[in-house]
Subunit: 381 residues, 2 copies
């Protein structure tokens, strides 16, 4: 795995973190502890802004549960947060992370539906990368008995996003076709699995060449990101595709719209092309906003096309969508229990290894999900 941009200064700091981690492992568990370990982002910037430190133990407020975290999900969005490359970023220092799973350790007053000892997964509006989190029960879901914590940390965000895009924003039905950019990523793999639950759906995946052997069985057709995939798709399906899922933004938007069949839907669910280097680039959020090709509604009218955006975190934390998400999660857990879907895990990392994990996702080296395993000790150098 590449380590571009990780200089010696960082490496030294990393060693310090690593020791902090080991120390922390030793003090873990006592539920009356006053402190916990967490990944902290000291300021927006490169990997050197991340460290593992002790923080005051959080306590649940009315309507919240306190969760002893076992594993957390790492998403591309976490890189954009680190760079401050998002709209209205919160003020650092902050604890990153939007999803985790673990065991309910305590339950505040006016909190219904959960008991101490429940195995749960949860969405958080930041603060997920810690040994302990507190969050309102609206964002907490019980894990199936046979789901591991690793699976749970890989499940919630990616499968809910994939499900809602395919079935709520678009209306995936028998016989349709779907193009997914970043087919090797965690959302891409979730999309591929969910498509396979509907009869006769054709999935066109775009992925870097080196992932093809690993993921070729998950999609119908696989194309290299560097080929003229628009032409390749049109060779197979001259009329285009019904649904395009794009987490890249940028020039892919126009290309993808041109691939849509009449009544087809293009969904933008991320903008990872905005991240070009380890630190926030000239091609940053504000710039990108203006550089992205805007869409004229009259063009959509003439072409009978649909363009949509999907941000699960905004839906959950800014737009009051927790009931919609709960309903999607219920359907997904049923599919999981029927063994129709199963999260693909790329790799497990200790909290102290968050920088290497981020570098791996930055380099698009992953196939499936990167997990921060809170109980894992850093792998010796």
């Amino acid at each position: 795995m590449a380590k571009e941009g990780v200089d010696m200064t960082e490496e030294t700091e990393y060693m310090i973190d690593r020791n902090a981690g080991k120390e922390a492992v030793n003090v873990e568990s006592p539920s009356n502890a006053k402190e916990m370990r967490a990944v902290v982002l000291a300021g927006f910037g490169g990997l050197n802004k991340l460290r593992v430190t002790k923080k005051a133990m959080p306590e649940p407020q009315d309507g919240e549960v306190k969760i002893r975290v076992k594993a957390c999900g790492l998403n591309f969005l976490d890189l954009m947060v680190r760079q401050g490359n998002i709209d209205n970023p919160p003020k650092p220092p902050l604890v990153p992370g939007f999803e985790c799973c673990g065991i309910v350790e305590s339950v505040a007053e006016n909190t219904q539906g959960f008991e101490i000892g429940d195995r749960v997964m949860a969405f958080l509006n930041y603060n997920a990368w810690a040994e302990v989190v507190c969050t309102p029960v609206d964002f907490v879901y019980k894990m199936p008995d046979d789901m591991t914590f690793t699976e749970a940390a890989a499940f919630s965000l990616n499968f809910v996003a994939a499900y809602m895009m395919l079935f709520e924003v678009a209306s995936l039905r028998e016989g349709m076709s779907v193009l997914v950019h970043s087919a090797g990523g965690a959302v891409g793999q979730a999309v591929a699995q969910l498509c396979s639950t509907v009869p006769n759906v054709t999935v066109f995946g775009i992925a870097s060449c080196f992932k093809h052997t690993s993921i070729k069985d998950s999609v119908t057709h696989l194309f290299d990101r560097n080929t003229d995939y628009i032409q390749e798709v049109k060779k197979i399906s001259p009329d285009g595709v019904d649904i395009v899922l794009d987490c890249l933004c940028g020039e892919n938007t126009g290309k993808s719209l041109s691939l849509l069949k009449p009544l087809g839907t293009y969904i933008l669910y991320g903008a990872s092309n905005m991240v070009t280097g380890e630190t926030k680039s000239f091609f940053s959020f504000a710039k990108s906003w203006w550089q992205v090709e805007k869409v004229n509604p009259i063009k959509l009218y003439e072409e009978n096309k649909v363009i949509a955006g999907f941000s699960l975190l905004n839906l959950l934390f800014k737009q009051g969508g927790c009931n919609l998400v709960k309903s999607a999660m219920d359907k997904l857990l049923s599919l999981y229990e029927q063994k129709k879907i199963r999260p693909v895990v790329d790799s497990l990392w200790a909290l102290e290894e968050v920088k290497e994990a981020m570098q791996r996702i930055h380099d698009r080296g992953n196939i499936g999900k990167l997990i921060l395993d809170v109980e894992k000790s850093p792998t010796p150098l």
Copy 2:
């Protein structure tokens, strides 16, 4: 009914047309006739560009049926065609009109599914406003036995458009809310009726004040176009609405987007605001294209919104969507036979009265559909 813009020159010409019409009525019917009456648009412009003349009798080609027309639908789009205010307009002289109904008079070779005498409705890519039309069977549908020709001419375009927007582009479900601009128009009334086939759907209608008494029972809430309807809707539904259907374009686009709930869908299906006077205005198609507020996909991403365009005629005649339309028509005919929907007819006009009919739709004076009744004689002045 207002007659603004109809000057004396036109009135004189109209009298000539009227006589032509009367003469034509006398020669109607013989199926071996070499000529037929049709409305002809001599060039793009005002009402004076329209006249009723004789044209050579069309004969069906392979895969086509020849239909003795009983009635035709008049749509706002026909005004835009008259002004040349559409993208890539065909070269005049031309016969306008996109829909009609009548009786199959002959069937060409390689034409399956229809017999002489069948009562049918049909979409045409122009040429509908005539005594006889020929069209491929892909665009022809059998009428239910108890449907009148007047109903049929009011049915196809508006109900298919309303159905596909509500159920194919958006996914109207129980408990949702729909805002429809031009609630008193033919599409607006079709939307209202289709919404009533789904439990617990709230319909917000926008219409000119003078229509309110007539249409108030068709929608849940009705607002005057000139009030601040955005605020009025928000008073009733603070979270906004699930679906907005807009045939106006212009400033309504931004306003309507702001009214959408998360995961809500805005559908543009017309741009009637582009028509401001009797002739093509400064605010014409090319101008409008640039004046319409363009949408940034990243904004859709942040807000979890969907924006779509729907043009039934492009779908049918440019994008090969006749199977999609056939499927919608089948469902609509079933709803009609269950007496769940019934087209609202505003008024019937002789071919020779097409100018007055167009003026009425231009002035937004209609409630429901304007029909050209081919067998009707002009009402004496």
